[in-house]
C-alpha cells in the first residue's frame, strides 16, 4: 500500500519534471521573439488583424471560440474569417499561407479530452512577418473548466501581443437587481458563468474584492444602520467587519487587510482605517478626515501611500488625494460640480471617476492624481462605477445608455465600449474585477 503510494508520487514527480522540460523547450523560442514589436493598445488606429485557427482535436473549436470571444471583447483585434484560411488546423504553420492575408499573428494548436474528462491543449502563436514562434505552451484543465483553459490561452496571446495580461483570468462581481431586490453575482471576467449569491436585500451596495480574491467586502443596511460585512467566498460564510449606528461604507482593502471606509458613527461621514487583528477582528478605528461635511469612497493607491476620496469640503463633491495618515490633502478635480467614485489605475498613474458632465448625466473620466490631463471617456447615458482591470488595460463600468442599467467594458482610454451579457430583465451595476 505504502509502496504503491510512493510509486505514484514518483510518477507524479516525473510528470512534473517532464512538464518542466516541455515548458523549457516551449519557452526557448520566446527569446528570439523579444524583438517583435508589441501593439500599443492606446495608440489610436484600426484593430489589429489576427487569425485564431481552431485547435485541432475534439474540444478545439470550443476553446478557440472562447479565445476569440475574449480577445474580441478588448476591441484590440479583428479576426480573419476561417473561410480565408488556406491552411487546415491540422497542417503545420507555413508562413507563406498567411503572408497574403495581412494578419499579424496566427494561433494554432491542438486539444484533446482524456477518458476521465481532463482537457489538454497546446497553443503556439506565430508572427506572420518573421515566421517566428512568439510562444508555445501546454495547458491542462479538468472537465467543466474549458473556459478557464481558454482564458489562460487568451491571456498569453494578449500579453504577447500587447504587453498586458488582460482581464481574462479575473472574476467579475456586481449587483443584480430586480424589483428592488439585490443579489451579488460572481462571474467570469466577461460575465459568463454567473453565480448568484442570494442576499435578496433592498439596501446592499456593490462588493469589493479582498486582495487575496477569497473574500468580498460590502455594505448593507440591517437593523437600522449600514454596516460592513465580509463574505468568505469558498465557504459562503459572512462575518461582520464594522457595525455602528449611522452609515458605514466599505471603501478599500489594503494588501495587508486594513479596511478603509467611511462612517457617520461619530458625527458626519468621515474616512477611517481599521487594522486587522490576529483573531479575525479589527482594532479601533483611526479617523483620517475631520470635516463636518461628507467624506466618502476612500481608495488606496497601488503603492499604498495615498488615499483618493470624495469630499464636499469645498461646497460640492470633488475628488481629493491625501496621505494615508490624513495629511497633505490636495484637490484633484476642478471641472464640474459633482465628481465621485474614484479608483486608481493599477500603475497609480491615473484615477478614474464618475463626474457629472453636460446634460446633467454622469460620465466616466480619468485624470492624473495631480489633477492634470483630464480625459472624458464616455458620453452617452449615465455612466458610473468605474473599475480598472488588474493589468490596467481595461475599465468596467455601469451604464443605462440602452435603457436598462447594465455592465459595460472598454479599453482604459475609452475605446471599444461594449455591453457584456448579464441576466435579462435585471439591472446590473457596480462591477469590480478581482485582482490577478
Amino acid at each position: 500500500m505504502k509502496k504503491q503510494r510512493k510509486s505514484r508520487l514518483v510518477f507524479t514527480l516525473s510528470s512534473i519534471f517532464a512538464f518542466i522540460i516541455i515548458a523549457m523547450i516551449a519557452l526557448a523560442p520566446m527569446a528570439q521573439a523579444d524583438n517583435i514589436q508589441q501593439i500599443d493598445i492606446y495608440a489610436p488606429g484600426r484593430p489589429i488583424p489576427i487569425a485564431i485557427s481552431p485547435l485541432a482535436g475534439l474540444p478545439g473549436d470550443e476553446i478557440s471560440s472562447v479565445v476569440i470571444q475574449d480577445l474580441d471583447a478588448t476591441s484590440v483585434f479583428t479576426f480573419l474569417d476561417p473561410k480565408g484560411f488556406s491552411e487546415s488546423p491540422t497542417e503545420p504553420f507555413n508562413q507563406a499561407d498567411w503572408l497574403p492575408t495581412q494578419v499579424v499573428a496566427v494561433l494554432k494548436g491542438t486539444a484533446s479530452i482524456s477518458p476521465e474528462g481532463d482537457i489538454s491543449a497546446t497553443a503556439t502563436l506565430y508572427d506572420v512577418q518573421s515566421g517566428a514562434v512568439l510562444f508555445s505552451k501546454s495547458y491542462g484543465a479538468s472537465l467543466g473548466m474549458l473556459r478557464s483553459l481558454a482564458h489562460d490561452i487568451s491571456s498569453d496571446v494578449f500579453k504577447q501581443l500587447t504587453g498586458y495580461a488582460g482581464p481574462f483570468k479575473c472574476k467579475l462581481s456586481y449587483i443584480s437587481e430586480k424589483h428592488g431586490r439585490k443579489n451579488i453575482v460572481i462571474a467570469d471576467w466577461d460575465a459568463y458563468h454567473p453565480k448568484t449569491l442570494r442576499f435578496n436585500e433592498r439596501l446592499l451596495m456593490p462588493p469589493k474584492w479582498g486582495r487575496d480574491n477569497k473574500s468580498l467586502f460590502y455594505s448593507a443596511e440591517r437593523g437600522g444602520a449600514w454596516g460592513i460585512y465580509r463574505l468568505d467566498i469558498a465557504h459562503l460564510k459572512e462575518s461582520l467587519v464594522f457595525y455602528r449606528r449611522g452609515t458605514s461604507l466599505i471603501g478599500d482593502i489594503s494588501p495587508s487587510g486594513q479596511i478603509l471606509f467611511s462612517s457617520s458613527y461619530q458625527s458626519s461621514p468621515n474616512i477611517y482605517i481599521i487594522n486587522p487583528e490576529g483573531n479575525g477582528g479589527y482594532g479601533p478605528p483611526l479617523k483620517l478626515t475631520h470635516t463636518h461635511g461628507i467624506n466618502v469612497s476612500p481608495a488606496l493607491s497601488p503603492d499604498g501611500r495615498l488615499i483618493a476620496y470624495v469630499s464636499d469640503r469645498d461646497g460640492s463633491p470633488q475628488i481629493y488625494v491625501m496621505n494615508t495618515d490624513g495629511s497633505n490633502i490636495t484637490r484633484v478635480t476642478f471641472q464640474g460640480n459633482y465628481n465621485t467614485a474614484p479608483v486608481w489605475s493599477p500603475d497609480g498613474k491615473r484615477i478614474a471617476f464618475a463626474g457629472r458632465a453636460g446634460g446633467g448625466q454622469n460620465q466616466i473620466f480619468t485624470v492624473k492624481p495631480d489633477g492634470s490631463d483630464l480625459m472624458q471617456l464616455t458620453s452617452y447615458g449615465n455612466n458610473e462605477d468605474p473599475c480598472f482591470s488588474p493589468d490596467g488595460s481595461m475599465i468596467a463600468f455601469s451604464s443605462d445608455r440602452n435603457g436598462v442599467k447594465s455592465i459595460y467594458i472598454m479599453r482604459s482610454n475609452g475605446e471599444g465600449q461594449r455591453r457584456i451579457k448579464t441576466a435579462n430583465g435585471a439591472n446590473a451595476y457596480g462591477p469590480r474585477w478581482s485582482y490577478n
Partner: protein
Amino acid sequence: MRKIAIIFAALLITAGCAHKQVASTGGLANEVTPPQKASTPSAGTGTTGVATSSENTGAAGQLKSVQAQAQDVFFDFDKYDLKPASKQALKDLSAMLLKDQKLKVAIQGNCDERGTAEYNLALGDRRASAAKKYLEALGVSAARISTVSFGSEKPVCKEKTEACWAKNRRDHFVLSF
C-alpha cells in the same frame, strides 16, 4: 447613556455576527442567507422601535393619526440644509413628540437617482441628520430619534423628471411607541 449605546451596539453586532446558514442549490446558483432577519426590523422602517401588535388599538389609532401628520421634508439637489418649509414641518413634528413623550421617530434620508450610489448614501445620512439636529434643538431628546440613510436605493417616484426627483430628495419620518 454612553454605556447604553455600547450595549446596544454590542447587541446588534452579536446579532449581525450570527454565522449564516448557507444552502447551495447546486448548478450555478448558490443561496446565501444574510444574517438573521431577526436583527433587521420590518422592511422599510429602518428603526428598532416599531410598534408591536401588543399595543392596544387605541395606541395604534393614535400612532396612525400622528404618522399621518408627520410631513416629509424636501431638499435641493445635492443639498442637505433645511429649507424654511422643512423647518416648519419639523416644528410641527417636534410639537407632537414633545406632547407625547412615549413617541419615537425614525428619520429616513433619501436622494434622487442622479448622483452616484455611495455618495448618495452619505448625502441621505446628512439629510436625516439635519432633521435630527433640528428636532434636538427644538427640545426632543436624541434618544428618541434614530436616523438611517436609504440614499437613492428606495425612490418613491421612478420617472426621470425633475418633479419626480424632487419627491425623492426627502426625509421621511416613521413614528412609533
